[in-house]
Symmetry: C2
Subunit: 413 residues, 2 copies
Amino acid sequence: MIAAVSPLAPKSFPELPEIEGVRFATGAAGIRYKDRTDVMLALFDKGTQAAGVFTKSKCPSAPVDWCRARLKGGKARALIVNSGNANAFTGKAGAQAVKLTAALAAKATGAPANEIFLASTGVIGEPLDASKFDGVLEKMSAHAAPDGLLEAAKAIMTTDTFPKVATASAMLGGVEITLSGMAKGAGMIAPDMATMLAFVFTDAPIASAVLQSMLAKSVQDSFNAITIDSDTSTSDTLLLFATGAAAKRGAPKIVTANDRRLAPFKQALNRLLLDLAYQVVKDGEGARKFVEVQVTGAASASAAKKIALSIANSPLVKTAIAGEDANWGRVVMAVGKAGERAERDKLAIWFGGIRVAHKGQRDPAYDEAKVSALMREEEILIRVDLGLGKGMAKVWTCDLTKEYVAINGDYRS
Amino acid sequence: MIAAVSPLAPKSFPELPEIEGVRFATGAAGIRYKDRTDVMLALFDKGTQAAGVFTKSKCPSAPVDWCRARLKGGKARALIVNSGNANAFTGKAGAQAVKLTAALAAKATGAPANEIFLASTGVIGEPLDASKFDGVLEKMSAHAAPDGLLEAAKAIMTTDTFPKVATASAMLGGVEITLSGMAKGAGMIAPDMATMLAFVFTDAPIASAVLQSMLAKSVQDSFNAITIDSDTSTSDTLLLFATGAAAKRGAPKIVTANDRRLAPFKQALNRLLLDLAYQVVKDGEGARKFVEVQVTGAASASAAKKIALSIANSPLVKTAIAGEDANWGRVVMAVGKAGERAERDKLAIWFGGIRVAHKGQRDPAYDEAKVSALMREEEILIRVDLGLGKGMAKVWTCDLTKEYVAINGDYRS
């Protein structure tokens, strides 16, 4: 009944070019699962710059606390991520597990502990036995290779049904640079942040403060614009690492955020993050439909986003989509409950290209059969125009199916 | 697969004493369903006082607009409620349908149209053909009788699996007065308001302004403290009608909200609303578990309520309960995402009477087998103490099951 791989999964993986200055390795530490890889390592050349954004949860995981502190230095030499245990809500033992992991990683890789980034995903509240990394990290470090990104993405899956990877390239001062990334997450996905874990690597020579500024902006219309179930993880982490290796090929070092030469890089980063964010939605637990919600004509951009999220998070809208029912009345309900300005008699609603409601009532021209045909598609577009102002927003979500309930009613036990 | 009657339904209905000055009737207007009653009428003696609270949706239904306007007079002579069509998002046609219904009801009952209250429940966005009430209301008016409350409650059911009725009595100035009420709602239930429709009737002689003040207060800890799916109806309506007939038996007329003689009545009203609100949760679409969420030790009462609702609305918490899994990690997640002050290392969590987490980590004494046994019960208590202040709140919800998805994925079509 539960699909082995989401029906919305990409049909193939992209070719992932190597990122100069990054090497990957995976291992099996037996954190929770047996007979599968559950830890990934990324090693960075000296001089690698780092940036990151994290969950806004008031109860963040121990690795989130750790990474936030490490970012102050702006430098990174390694990233270690495990699946099977989130090391969240584990009290002092959690902080100790993080320290021990970093110490073991420092020993294994030769990198200073405070330039090692950590992330964990899996069950909350169970102590993480970091001593299991001992020995495993050494072997991984010895075998790290530049072409291991896809395998690394597989190692950090939990309820994911497929690994999520993406790549993009851009010109930076006349030199082609590359970005590649991975994401992990299938439930407990909502702004802010909207992914559990995502990591992006580039060879561009960009200073950490500039990376941070770009990342914080780019995430707004990608990972912070997706929602699966409105639940926000304690572990959400998005890290961006720039090795700077492209400088050897003549790429300029970028040290200010408003450097005009950055424009193509910014676009590539936006594209990459959106690609990964889409994949997270397409692996939404139990998802059968990918849904784009567009809101236009709102009083402001933030009002538009709040209304779009109210629609995207509504269980009644999401179950209607699962049932392939163009139930626009529930869209009205979700607009009404958002708390933002709305005037019933100015509201218009479309499914796909078909306007089903306008001026406060059903569109008399609307053909139920045509809309029903649209609802059977894999990708559904819901558009709402409020007729009030210029505020607009887009968010992405999936439907709410019985499989979501099955997956989450039987996850821990 | 979908239960004919919720397993959480009360095993029997209470004896419903007649409320002097109120008569009920039901009829079949063929609004949407065939071969079932779909309209109820309550007739009130002259002098009946009215109060009401409504949805905070920015897109309220036409009957909500109508009732809000009628309440200014404070007087009521009749209430007409139909199921099958919510007359919501029906544009000008909706306002016209409301006017026509009131005019037909005035003709049928002899009451002035502006003392007639209306409510509709069912599908949103479909025009309501109010002409179907013509003739039907005359017959109902002719047959109205004081003992018809339970039948009236049945007439306004939609996806409800059982009619919701309750009764209470209290002393008012040495005279026993009675309250009885009904509620309707099984999905699209969340603050504010948390029910689709509820109507309460009493013979107490209380002025409309006093009723309004008591109702607004009492609803905070009852209907505004329940949630099924976080979705807020466009039609939520709670009306309170007081015929004043008990004055003939010597009950004092109450005209100020701080009259001390009101205390027992207030308690009875609180009890009655809570009883009805519980029943709405117990008929939550697909519900198999009734869940009380208690939050203590929050920075303020409003913070406590926000955290309690974050827990109660979390799909991951609700599916865990459906799966009988004491997944307190998801409770931590829901506390963290509420946006209110929380300190991980001061947090404690109980399921039933068993503390499963404290001081930021799993309680070492906690016995998983005992907690698992508790999770198999029909009623589940989740308690969270934040260890910060004196703010507390209680809310009630149900689990999220595959049946919820089945019911709502296949409602309209």
